[in-house]
């Protein structure tokens, strides 16, 4: 329900449904991958500039 409210009302219902379906599909495949991620994995929101630094 919260997701439906997030899409602009200006968009026709059919198109809203298509947008929701696209995102639902993406989230589905993504969450399957996340399920195997180790719990202690930290986010990598900001890579440092790594010029000439060995890769981790």
């Amino acid at each position: 329900m919260a997701q439906r409210m997030a899409i602009s009302d200006e968009i026709p219902a059919e198109e809203r449904a298509a947008i929701e379906a696209t995102v639902t599909s993406l989230l589905g495949s993504f969450r399957r991958a996340v399920a195997a991620m180790p719990l202690e994995t930290p986010p990598a929101i900001d890579f440092r500039p790594v010029d000439d630094e060995p890769a981790p």
Binding site: I7, L26, F30, P43, A44, V50, D51, P56
Partner: protein, 437 residues
Amino acid sequence: MTAIEAAEAIRARRVSAVELTRAALETIERHNPALNAFITVTADRALGQAEALDRELASAGPRGPLHGVPIAHKDLIYTAGVRTTSGSKLFADFVPACNAAVVDGFERAGAVMVGKTNLHELAYGITSENPHFGAVRNPHDPSRSAGGSSGGAGVAVATGMALLATGTDTGGSIRIPAAWCGVVGFKPTYGVVSRAGVQPLGFTLDHIGPLAQTVADAALAFDVMCGRERRELTPAARGVRIGIPVNFCFDVIDAQVKDALLGFARRCAEAGAELIEVRVPDWDALNATARLILLAEASALYQPYLNRRGDFGEDVYRLLQQGRLIPAIDYLNAQRMRTVFRAEFACLFGTIDVLLTPTTPATAPPIGQRNIELAGATHDTRILATRLMRGVNAVGLPAISLPCGRDRDGLPIGAQLIGRAGRDARLLDVAAALEQR
């Protein structure tokens, strides 16, 4: 003439900056009406700049390694006093007060800006079919896409309207137009080139880099963009370990593109490179991670403008609506997944120097074509074109697209070489050895 050849000719006084700038402007005048590579042409400013550089050369010598060389900036890179639209109606009249850091770098190097190149609206797409400034057309077949989002940059370099161009790449936006226009496109390691003064799209995915005729030109432009001294390339193919993926990268691909890539790999081996079959990480999951991050970040950025639907093209507006549906938990988990993939790619690069993939699984599609038939299935053009692109942005690795052949219609095919994080110089050396093979 390449950018390096042009700079040498100017330094040797065989040609002047004004003559080269006039030639570039004449090429723009001849081709731009049909190809639409530029949103703004800065002819008077460029000629004034070139005249000043000619005087400076006579009195004080060359200012830098690109003294008098005509270049173009993508129109989301801020240029002081010159309109910077980001290909959007929202910013159609925006005139920055100051330059982006990379623009300052090119000015210090002595380059002459001839204009601002057209792009996919807000850099959020790969066709450069811009609803506000018109579609950029492919120089090899104007009925086809030039790629994007840096489409105008690809066309400008391919036709000689500019000898170098800047681009940005959030999910393939330098490499795709490079491949489809038949030029070199380099996306450096994440964070190496300053993004100051560049309109963002995905805060943690955006990269700045050059499009050029040759790897040597791209390497020089990269040095300029980083604000450091020019480094001479040391091309060497012998002993280079090239990873050839046995999974994912060649699974969905046009037969002609695959043949071109395999031929390229064979020629690399003949030049002394070692081909090593490798399994790549779960690239489907990596792509999902990158898509999810971009959807959320772009929508966060443009949320304040989403009540102005008429100011957006349909495709970009739809993507921005999609992004509003991404839960925070999934966005954060996507950022955690990047950590996993970075480690997996670092492990992969323990056994190889570069990874070879196609840049795009198919050559440039006709303008307006939303789907591509391939391997017995129908694929969304944007998703297919970014299949081997956007994941590389998520792991921040340097990658370069090189021309490696043509299909039966004469359309260029691109090969992508991906390097280790921070080893941009090594990747450029390898690419220089392998280009034209």
